[in-house]
């Protein structure tokens, strides 16, 4: 008889590990236990079903050629038994038995195993807000949620929605609901949206875009209560900055791991939740593997333990587990906590460490803000992307990237992730032989240019201040001159800096009009994107100016009000 393999969880990591194990071991007896009706569906696709981009929720359960992955499919195509509508209640790790119950019939069974996989996933964290159980208050966890919301909108029963939580899912749902004609307000407790992915100045760039699309943002705002009418339907939310009427509330404040089954069985759990696994994806019991949204994992850079539930990682985990289940040897080294999202006409992605992460970890980091077209600037479909790179000053290694804009973000995030994974320095990144043609990138790719700016900073050639540092100086009333080296027509187009002591001399006239720039003051040069700002710094230094810097990211990435 073959090895008995029981897999608990039928969405991503579970079916992947089962399928992999089947391919490598035709003898194994493999059973998937899934508490829901449906298997192997693409939970990440729910916002796109809600928006109408995915027409039928069935598409989220099909293989690319349109086969629905149901119990019959798994049995016939893969000889894998699937017990759906079945809840795993307890694990006896000594006897190696899982006790399950059919949630429809109530029938119970004991499933013996040689190897067990916990792929129990995660679930939306529901904050303990009064009113959270009212009608038309949802999380977006499964297809049923999405269908229910869809029906409400179809019937015209919701004109206004409040999204509690400005994270990835909150923003994806926002876009979907705007597409369906709703008025949407995002309430985010932190001071800016996507606080776990982006730092203030990058998030600000995205916030401007969301606002231009009609999204109402209430950041730094806490929801106190959800109010309803006599019929139990939601009517408003009460926040610490006022009441917001609404017909629909989506709670999207985060995901938490379904680790209880494992924890109850005595498996090691992280203090903040999530099963702990080693590189082989073994839990603290070597006969029990775990992966996907129920485990914590290690970041490749810095080694921090994090909870980052993603369908992509779940699938990678599944393959490693599938190999190891049947005696193979595979390992999963960790993640870069890379993430990406589409938000209307913008994309926003991040990978690796942020500047704040570095500060917490005591790493002396150098950062840059660079914004430029994602294709040759003369190519008609070129669109800007803004990049924040974070690098280690001492080792010169690239540690992280945050990239936002209407241009091609995902390519540069994936290149950054790959570079970070292999310990690339900014010097390495700057000389990567990225494939060039005008429809795909500038001759020097954006990430190359950003890496070069970091090199210039580390090497002491480029001296800059972040927009936040400039703002702080403004607020303190420091005595400094802003030197605007843009062409005259750009000032109206792009806006002006809110600083009276600003001198405007286009770069091409700077040498001939150098006398207009005071030599005894601190000079902060800038242009649209601060490439000419850097040139201005070097020019002034050439004329003997001692205290010159440029402002990172130029006026385009200035995150505050302009004139």
């Amino acid at each position: 008889m073959g090895k008995k393999i029981v897999v608990i969880g039928g969405v991503a990591c579970g079916p992947k590990s089962a399928s992999r194990a089947r391919r490598l071991d035709p003898e194994a007896e493999i059973t998937i236990v899934e508490k829901g009706e449906l298997l192997s569906y693409a939970g990440c696709g729910l916002p796109y079903f809600l928006s109408g981009e995915v027409k039928d929720s069935k598409e989220l359960m099909e293989t690319p050629v349109g086969v629905v992955r149901d119990t019959v499919f798994f049995k016939n195509a893969k000889d894998i038994n699937v017990m759906n509508n079945t809840l795993a209640e307890t694990i006896d790790t000594k006897k190696k038995v899982v006790s399950v119950v059919n949630v429809k019939s109530g029938e119970k069974a004991d499933l013996p195993y040689d190897k067990l996989v916990l792929a129990t996933g995660g679930m939306p964290f529901v904050p303990p807000i009064p009113g959270k159980d009212l009608n038309k208050v949802f999380t977006l966890c499964c297809i049923e949620d999405a269908r229910a919301i869809d029906t409400i909108i179809d019937k015209g029963d919701a004109k206004k929605a409040v999204i509690v939580g400005g994270g990835l899912i909150g923003l994806e749902v926002t876009e979907a609901l705007i597409a369906r004609g709703l008025e949407v307000t995002i309430v985010e407790m932190m001071d800016w949206i996507l606080p776990q992915l982006f730092e203030f100045e990058m998030s600000a760039f995205l916030e401007k875009h969301l606002i231009s699309k009609g999204v109402k943002l209430m950041t730094g705002t806490t929801v106190k209560e959800i109010k309803g009418d006599g019929a139990g339907n939601v009517t408003s939310i009460i926040t610490d900055s006022g009441e917001v009427p609404t017909d629909l509330v989506i709670l999207a404040v985060g995901t938490k791991p379904n680790d209880k089954l494992g924890a109850d069985a005595g498996l090691k759990v992280h203090e903040k939740g999530g099963l702990i696994v080693n590189e082989k994806m073994e839990t603290s019991d070597p006969d029990i593997y775990s992966g996907g949204d129920c485990v914590v994992q290690k970041e490749i850079v810095g080694g921090k333990t994090v909870y980052v539930p993603l369908g992509s990682t779940a699938n990678r985990h599944g393959r490693v587990i599938g190999t190891n289940l049947v005696g193979g040897k595979d390992t999963f080294k960790g993640i870069c906590s890379a993430a990406i999202m589409k938000a209307f006409d913008f994309s926003a992605g991040k990978t690796g460490l942020s500047e704040a992460d570095c500060k917490k970890a005591g790493i002396d980091c150098v950062t840059t803000l660079a914004i430029s077209p994602d294709k040759a600037h003369f190519y008609p479909t070129a669109k800007p992307i803004g990049i924040k790179l974070v690098a280690d000053r001492k080792t010169r290694k690239l540690l992280g990237a945050q990239i936002i804009g209407p241009g091609d973000v995902s390519k540069r995030i994936d290149v950054a992730t790959t570079a970070i994974t292999f310990g690339a320095t900014v010097d390495d990144v700057a000389n990567l032989d990225l494939a060039y043609a005008p429809p795909f990138s500038p001759a020097l790719d954006n990430i190359t240019t950003a890496a070069n700016i970091v090199r210039n900073k580390i090497d002491g050639f480029a001296k800059s201040l972040s927009p936040m540092e400039v703002k702080e100086k403004m607020d303190k009333g420091d005595d400094f001159v802003m030197l605007d080296v843009r062409m005259p027509f750009e000032l109206e187009e792009q806006g002006k800096m809110p600083w009276d002591n600003t001198i405007h001399i286009p770069l091409g006239k700077l040498r001939s009009e150098i006398d207009k720039v005071p030599k005894d003051k601190e000079i902060i040069a800038f242009c649209k994107i601060s490439l000419r700002g850097y040139d201005a710094q070097k020019t002034l230094e050439g004329f003997g100016y001692k205290d010159v810097k440029f402002m990172d990211g130029g006026i385009v990435l200035w995150p505050y009000e302009k004139r």
Copy 2:
């Protein structure tokens, strides 16, 4: 007085090295000598000017904010002297003097230098075909060529065009001329288009697309003569497979380095042409640097010396040279020979070594053909890309990638280049934490999946034949069975294999109908993309079949006729 720096060549590498040197050394006296009128123009943009996508050829000479990079710009903004319309005739390396002549006035001058940069670029190779000097026979080298062709088309003086050479530039021009309403025939000497970038089966995938767009392909065809009328205008080309009437001929058979000036000065030149430089971009004379389209360079993988002229590399060279010119220390480690192009609705890119390169170099390589949607398959804009990966069987290192299709090719090429640069194995690539969301990639990115197939092959789990190997067996009349495991509806949609001994059993029925598959024959399984084909191989092996393989790439990447 500052260091005297003379830069010969004002297009890409030259201005970049001059600008970089200026930023690092305000004292240096920097002069650019350019034989043409125009500076710093984007030669790679010419096809897009020709197509009409770039409206005004001036855009190719402007900075992103619309400043034309003329002699005044360089002087005022960067304090760099530019002598345009000026030809460098000789270099006296002992006296360290360049002799130049103004091509308009005939005025001569001697320019002394401390450090010299040769950024003399490349020029189209013009094959010695009788008739090459007829009217309306062009190369696409500079803006003047593009403008002349543009005028001919505008006047309606060309309805038919022949492109001699099916390389990058030939194809870009083809698309431009088709966009302008011309009938275009490509004549390529080799057996398939883009022979220097792609191997047969990948090129075939692109060829089908070109043909669907109305392009006439004459591969394996040599041009013998270009014929003209009494007025000296081209009327046809004569090839070894017949005469092709035409009103316009573009010769695009390759670029050769402008290395004569350096060679005459005694600098080391590669046997096939191109100045030889070291990692510091120094020529054999340490006071003379060179970069861009006039040098040969090293491939990072394998270390082969190659001539790959690209605007991106020229810019990277320029930065390294600029740093070293003024006493800094920077190096350029080499290239992956990465390249990409847009061809109508397809993109096509390659990086690193091909299977043929490996065979030449004696590397035992493993390859795969994988084709799948570039985004979550349920996402409406998902489009397929086909990937050929090449890896070293022994070291498991990724050595090369060729990627073609309507989906996002450029991201995966750049990820592959980055991975190859840092010596990643296919195991590393498979577990890269590439950023996932449905609008950007499948949960397991295409390159991850392709890497996993290679791993399965190296580890002996997956056994496959390339389509060429299958075709060879067909042509030899071998006794084997093709096992088609697709759904019935797919057969009409995707076509059938041209092999009588084909059994059709959808994967879901394979286990129950296993008796229909003969146990004593060689079985070659396939489906649309051969993912189910691989499953079929594993299923049959599970039932004790000994001689089972699947066909790489499935029917979608079958490069020959279908039924």
